[in-house]
Homo-oligomer: 304 residues x 2
């Protein structure tokens, strides 16, 4: 990709990222009014975690995948809210002192810092339940079969054979020597499973067949790995001011990353190759896949 | 209730409790085979939490509610597994040092003691996701509408307007003065919502109308409060050896409980009145509600 292409990629995505950011904030604001009882602090913590921050990469992926199959924007945003709630719950728990022990997230204090640990545990658990409530809500007039299929896939993507399983492997990575294959497998579970769900959601709501789903899975697989390599590069080269979270923590913890295993240059080349490959999976689509193509280019060009 | 009735209640329930205990253990054993990778410790922790312990009160309630409407036992047990997974996840997180800081649960070390805190957080999160996976699984041939309705109700019962909200109120109870009304409201969320779901699940699967559901809600409401009063009485009068968990913690933390608010004698009378009332809601049912009646009597006669 040329430098000009890169500038173009981030420019073309800016309005989409801004729009999804606003839409997600609005919906969480409506979903989480502050109650006037002993649960107020819990809702404040949930709002702290989900409103006003983050790249909203996963919601954008859901919307972009839904665009492919002309799925109504409101239906797409509802699923986007669910996936972002799961993503945010995992960040809250991941930041806890007994896990990664982070003080900073999205440029703000982490939930256990701004509130306390017990509230952070419960805010994460509450967002986790909220995600499934949003997906299963009959008031949305979504077809029951689609609703339960979305629930099933999100539960699988976030549970012990998906995200939570990957986080467990990540804990072990501090005390074991991980090679490239093990690191790839870890990241496919830890971040890849949820990213795959974003694309799968579009296919489920669009009610498309296996051939289309396979293309989207290929895209998600390559994008997820490239995204993680970019994250590892930011951890080495970025600053807390830009990323809004602590950097250079992996090296300090002695954890294997794509960068420690491949070196900066090969990691960057690998990420670019994966992005080309991700975009290649979309070749049978026309302009309706342009947003997915732009997201892929953005994934390795972002600075946070 | 006479002493003879009490002996009869616990005797008649014993075979049902034993049978449900075995059935739940078997199903969790099949659901959670140990993987041969970095997630092994996570699955060990999940198995530690869900296999071989607990009264299995909530699974038994689901089965008993399903019996009312002739719902197949296998369908009932699947929902029972989901509700028990949520109950166990909440116990794991509730026992964490930043929450209630308990070392003993169901006569065994708590998950963070037997493993570590990070594993406990992830084991809880994993069981939470597993519950929704089990409910939404299409392989069960459950009707999609029933599946998504069960997911919706369980998410509501366990989320910020249910169990997690009640746990948040419970945290506040250590620093605030709670009266009887506030304590009742807290317990309705913290333990009542999930107990109500057990009964609702039977109504959802039995596809019965509002009139039947209202009776079951009345039963669940009264049973839930009586169950909690009995718990508070055990906390004051029981021993760790019998309950399998720490006792007299509420008084030490200065928390209001039904016993501290009403005194031992009035609390016991209140629990008995609630149980009579709970059974009263079942008067239009015949022998098919005998298990629910026996559970209600057992709720205040148990010693753990």
């Amino acid at each position: 990709m040329s430098d000009q292409d890169r500038v173009h990629a981030s420019l073309s995505l800016k309005p989409a990222l801004d729009a999804i950011g606003t839409a997600i904030d609005q919906r969480f604001d409506r979903l989480l009014p502050l109650p006037d009882d002993g649960r107020r602090r819990l809702f404040e913590a949930m709002r702290h975690a989900v409103i006003g921050g983050g790249k909203r990469m996963r919601p954008l992926l859901v919307v972009a995948a839904c665009d492919l199959f002309h799925v109504d924007r409101e239906r797409a945003l509802r699923v986007a809210i669910a996936i972002e709630a799961v993503h945010c719950y995992s960040l809250i728990h991941d930041d806890l002192p007994c896990m990664d022990d982070d003080d900073l997230r999205r440029g703000k204090p982490t939930v256990h810092k701004a509130f306390d640990e017990a509230t952070a545990v419960l805010a994460g658990d509450s967002l986790h339940a909220l995600a499934f409530e949003v997906l299963a809500d009959e008031a949305t007039h979504e077809d029951p079969f689609v609703r339960s299929e979305l629930v099933l896939e999100l539960a699988r993507a976030s549970g012990p054979s998906g995200m939570a399983g990957g986080q467990m492997m990540d804990l072990a990575a501090e005390s074991q020597v991980f090679d490239l294959a093990a690191t790839t497998r870890l990241q496919q579970l830890k971040t890849g499973a949820l990213i795959s769900f974003c694309l799968d959601a579009g296919a489920i709501m669009g009610r498309v067949g296996d051939a289309q789903r396979t293309k989207l899975r290929g895209y998600a697989h390559d994008l997820g790995l490239a995204f993680q390599i970019a994250d590892d590069l930011l951890d080495v080269e970025g600053s807390s001011a830009k990323t809004g979270k602590a950097v250079q923590k992996d090296a300090a913890a002695g954890k294997a990353t794509f960068v420690s295993l491949l070196g900066v240059e090969r990691a960057r080349t690998q990420a670019e190759m994966l992005i080309d490959q991700a975009i290649g999976h979309l070749h049978s689509f026309g302009a309706e896949a342009d947003l997915l193509r732009a997201i892929a280019r953005f994934a390795i060009e972002r600075d946070r």
